[in-house]
Symmetry: C2
Subunit: 176 residues, 2 copies
């Protein structure tokens, strides 16, 4: 199993002062550019999940689409995109949530999932948890059941888990 021999930390770049001064940005691009590392990451994200545990995967644009699609394909599950306001056609449900300065809105198609569907929430990075917390509430608004929340990278000292809510939350790489 390649997944046991690859140190995924080596495939996460760090970029100081991006997107603004004082922020150390964790760049997942080297990981997704390497098929073996990407394989290992997807295996780890799905490690204790069976296909029967999940009806669909929901992920937040845009980097979340990359990790979310890979996980959905692995679990043979459908993929449900959560997007910024005004990007999805048809009947949508939305949720507005507070950011550090201002607010943002996420949307999902209302008919994207069946009532009671077991939804795996996927994103690349857990920071403050505000966006994922809103995404989970949005999925519940359209009748979904949030079965699990998984992240590739977690910035552990930002306390994002508490902000997301009372779900099972896992991450495969964690940084202080």
């Amino acid at each position: 199993m390649t997944s046991k021999t690859i140190d995924l930390n080596r495939y996460i770049g760090t970029i100081p002062d991006w997107p603004k001064k004082g922020i150390l940005f964790y760049d997942i691009m080297p990981l997704i550019a390497d098929p073996a590392a990407f394989d290992a990451a997807v295996d780890a994200l799905c490690a204790d999940l069976n296909e029967s545990d999940i009806d669909c995967v929901a992920a937040i644009e845009a980097r979340g689409f990359i990790i979310g699609t890979a996980v959905a394909r692995k679990l043979k599950a459908g993929f449900v995109p959560i997007r910024k306001k005004g990007k999805l056609p048809g009947q949508t449900e939305s949720i507005t949530y507070d950011l550090e300065y201002g607010a943002d809105t996420l949307e999902v198609q209302r008919n994207a999932i069946k009532s009671g569907a077991k939804v795996l929430m996927v994103d690349d990075l857990l920071a403050t948890g505000g966006t994922m917390g809103a995404a989970c509430k949005l999925i519940e608004k359209i009748g979904g059941h949030v079965a699990r929340v998984v992240f590739l990278v977690e910035l552990a000292d930002l306390g994002g888990r508490e902000k997301i809510g009372d779900y099972k939350i896992t991450s495969i790489l964690s940084y202080e």
Copy 2:
């Protein structure tokens, strides 16, 4: 083979007057929500490609990330995201191209691909071809070789193929 028995047209929604009046929008969300249909689409997109034909897959945010990631995973190829201006960290290369009204800019990380790498360009929809044409030039600017351009849906009467350039271009669903 499920891919031979599924009519993928049934999984493409049509939404009139979106994103603006007079436009009939083709919605790929029903297709990606259905694992068997998504499987069949990925099989068709990769139909005459071998893993050795392709070093990596490049796709344009945001819907392109969904189709592109699925194709990259299928071909065991790395994934290279092409994003709107200011979204990618590190050293980037950019290209600005004309839209019907105004202009837009795409960026890619400069070190995303090795010189001479065989790149499969993937997007969900071929309309006027302006964005994909710019994306191909951008990949060539950083030393890549555009091996093939594939789309899930092509709006054939918009003449987008001519705008993209002299590449091998295929689509699996075509509408007039």
